[in-house]
């Protein structure tokens, strides 16, 4: 079975996010003065071939912990695992 997977990687809440701060600082210049708490993360999308959804999720969890994120500074979570329907 083939699945499309989406993983979200975000900096841990306790860490300052310079990228989010940069976005937040730029917004008022464009007229948006009402935005607070900007955090910037990473969205990773890919396809994976697996026997079933459970084993696909287990593999993605391991991929997220070992490569897609650095668990020391980042949280990761699976946003979606969706089977690709063959036509």
């Amino acid at each position: 079975m083939r699945f499309t997977v989406e993983v979200l990687v975000t900096l841990k809440p306790r860490l300052a996010d310079p990228q989010g701060k940069a976005v937040e600082s730029a917004l008022p210049a464009l007229g948006w003065t009402n935005v607070r708490g900007v955090r910037v993360g990473k969205h990773v999308r890919f396809e994976v071939e697996s026997d079933d959804e459970t084993s696909a999720r287990a593999q993605v969890d391991e991929m997220a912990a070992r490569l897609l994120s650095n668990p020391v500074i980042e949280d990761s979570r699976i946003l979606e695992v969706r089977e690709v329907q063959r036509t």
């Binding site: 310079p18 990228q19 940069a22 897609l68 650095n70 020391v72 500074i73």
Partner: protein, 234 residues
Amino acid sequence: MSARIGVVTFPGSLDDRDALRAIELMGGQGVALWHADRDLRGVDGVILPGGFSYGDYLRCGAIARFAPVMEEIRTFAEGGGPVIGICNGFQILCESGLLPGALIRNRSLRFVCRVVHLRVETTRTPITADATQGEVLEIPIKHGEGQYVAADDVLDRLEAEGRVVFRYCGPDGETSDDHNPNGALRAIAGIRNRAGNVVGLMPHPEHAVDPDVGPTGGQALFASLFTHVMAPAR
């Protein structure tokens, strides 16, 4: 016999040649190592140099930690061999779990390239053994992602175990936010592992050995490393 110090070149390493040159200038023998080789060529110590290994596209050091040579370096480090990670090399050591914590984007969001003052916090490492605790060294930094972070309990443990090796400071050794170039927690510029043989630091001692081109704060660190690896007790 002079100390044989290996310098690993990853695709995207920048400071490997400067590190080899600094080793030679200081009287050691530089040995070029390649990221894809599972061979440390019998060196007495290893330097992971600065640069942007594999482009640092994912996270700094995230891909380099899986390079074949890193398996050899892990074994070498576990056997007590000196491993010094400079800048990108520090990031690689953190990503590989050989050192705790991580380096994230500078607080200022700017790439910082200038000479800083560093206070030596411990002499229990191969590169500071011949220095004096509290000594202030002038060494350049050049990085965009050098803000050292770790959980509070990890930082407390590093402090308690004397594993903070360098702190950013002023000319007289004073620490303050003004003297912290990247927002590093507790002004940490370098740390060591529990055994003391693995050291990571953001500043570049290899750019600070030649009086013709700048400060010479790196000389003491190379000299100390050579003395350490040539000591018969090891």
